[in-house]
Amino acid sequence: TTSKAPDTIRIGYLANITGDGAVWGQAEVNGAKMAVEEINKAGGVLGKQIELFVGDARGNATDGVNAIKKLIEQDKVVAVLGSNYSGINLACAPIVEAAKIPQIGSFPTNPKVTVDEKGNVRPYSFRLCFIDPYQGKVLADFMVKDLAKKKAAILYEVTSDYSVGLSEYFEKRLTELGGEVVAKLAFKQGDVDFRPQLSEIKQKNPEVLLLPNLYKEIALAAKQARELGMSEVIFMGGDGYSNTMLEMAGEELQGSYWVSHFSWEDPGLRGLLEKYTAKYGDTNPEPNAAMGYDIVYFLVDAIKRAGTTDGPALKDAIENAKEVKLQHAVITMDPKTHNPLNKLAAIHVVQGDKIRFLKNYAPQD
């Protein structure tokens, strides 16, 4: 406990360093560290150096709450970045509100993270990603309008909020567009064999199989689907994918489509990728690395505009962010929802041994 004000600007990063989601959490922190180093080298912000404090949420809300409280109180951070899980940020929302410390999530896509159940915006909670309804919409639109397919099947994880949400919004939009979900089957956290569900799905002859899952399950499901002789069906899914899934199901995933927040192949991100690879030796990093990097710059921009690290002022600055140029996107914050406005989705397709950037996409209503 220091009595005088700290001579650095302290920023917290809430990430899952251990536990199931550690792949992403560690990538985010790596990206953030890189950004902080750069900024400090360039003289810091408001004449002060930035210090990054990492809190491990271990992939669950209870630890997330402990971690964020520690960041706020003991580490005295002025803002918290992360996490990428909606469940964690939902539990943190009342805390940051009480402490008047803004929190900017990286990939928590549940709408309720920034807007409470009564429809009021949560004043100190923000995010830099688009939300599930949007992602579901993009998927359905792309399927019907670009791929001209109407019959989809869904294999989702019933114990995962992400998977449940995404499949719900996809289904809703697809029916609106005149398409049909011919089969919707579930599995449970920890399952690795989906052949019973896939065999049933096969019976219904879908054109598209939506895999609103995380990379491991995507790869396994794709592999097993092909194993069962589903050779025609096209796989689609959301931002739960990762490059690593190609190591295990490369052939099987050929020609499948994935929606994400941005692409490493985006020319704007090439420089960052090189820097990251040079620093961490990872040639094929998770997209989270870029978000971890960008989210620091986004906050620093807000601090600069606010001219202070005072919570309410900083919150206002974040709320009024306009056209902030980051590596992965240009962000304008919607003050009514605390979501970034008009964020494009990036559609990817698997070609050869790579997940290639196909195009940026925005659904038309």
């Binding site: 536990g19 064999d193 052949r195 019973p196 569900q197 049933e200 592999k223 690593t244 190591e247």
Partner: protein, 294 residues
């Protein structure tokens, strides 16, 4: 049409069950001697899976010797665990609950040591046995599963012979009943238990390599042993044929329930069935539920 659906689910179920069986045999072996559920069995499995992965990819050793080396590593991990953690507990005659907790501690320790050192990423074996299925007209299945089933049965037969027909096997059973009295018969209990752990570890390592090849390698891979645990209960704890029968049954039930009843509530139905089975046969399908004489 409906026949092919049912047949396909039967094949799916049996092939899932074969993997469970491979794990359950090793797990049941330990149960049959020390009378406790060894949760660290999953850790041995993960050790085997990672060892196999690194030996195959990093050391460029031919596949078969690499796998042998990997399962031996798992066996050694099991023996070490036994030596360091279980033996002191055993020698103090503690209730079996302590073994369970110790094994849980080991499982936590292993999982997180792997996360902290090797990292949480999943790893993929090079494709050796093509994963593509064998199409049999009505149904399709994969070669890996046939292999797993074969291995499970092979080990079942060998172990069953060992336990019921050899002097050492008899000693194992005796030791499971009264460790000290087994010592009084001249049984070197420590060495015997060590051997059993070596075998169980080798089995776990083998299932680890299988799982790694079939699915993928990641620190939480060992959680699958919980299924084997359930399967062993179905079949009757401590009975090796029971472990296999329970595994196949569990696999088939899961497949049928997921396909025809409800994939969302699959485990709810599975566990209801489990409880129903236990109500009728408190010792599981093949377990002996011996009422003690007073």
């Amino acid at each position: 049409m409906i026949l092919s659906r049912v047949l396909q689910q039967l094949v799916n179920g049996l092939s899932i069950g074969s993997i469970y069986a491979l794990i359950a045999v090793g797990y049941s072996l330990i149960y049959s001697i020390l009378r406790f559920s060894n949760f660290a069995h999953g850790s041995f499995l993960v050790v085997g899976a990672y060892a196999g992965f690194f030996i195959v990819t990093a050391m460029s050793i031919p596949f078969i010797p690499a796998v042998l080396l990997a399962i031996l590593t798992a066996g050694l991990a099991a023996v070490t665990t036994e030596r360091v953690a279980y033996r002191p507990i055993r020698e103090r005659n503690s209730p079996t609950l302590y073994f369970i907790i110790a094994s849980m501690g080991i499982a936590i320790f292993c999982e997180h040591t792997i996360v902290a050192t090797i990292g949480p990423k999943f790893r993929t074996y090079p494709r050796v046995l093509a994963a593509t299925g064998v199409d049999l007209g009505l149904v399709s299945m994969s070669k890996m599963d046939v292999m797993a089933a074969f291995m499970a049965f092979l080990f079942l037969i060998v172990l069953q012979y060992f336990i019921t027909r050899t002097k050492q096997g008899c000693a194992i059973q005796a030791a499971s009943y009264d460790l000290q009295a087994a010592g009084l018969m001249g049984v070197n209990v420590n060495r015997l238990v060590g051997t059993v752990f070596l075998i169980a570890g080798i089995l776990a390592g083998l299932s680890g390599v299988f799982l790694g090849m079939k699915y993928t390698v990641y620190p939480q891979l060992g959680y699958l042993t919980i299924k084997a645990f359930v399967a062993a209960i179905f079949g009757g704890l401590g009975s090796l044929p029971g472990a296999i029968a329970g595994s196949l049954l569990l696999g088939v039930m899961e497949a049928f329930i997921a396909a025809f009843l409800s994939s969302q509530l699959r485990d709810l139905f599975v566990f209801s069935l489990l409880i129903a089975v236990l109500l009728v046969k408190p010792g599981g399908l093949m377990g002996k539920y011996v009422e003690e004489k007073v």
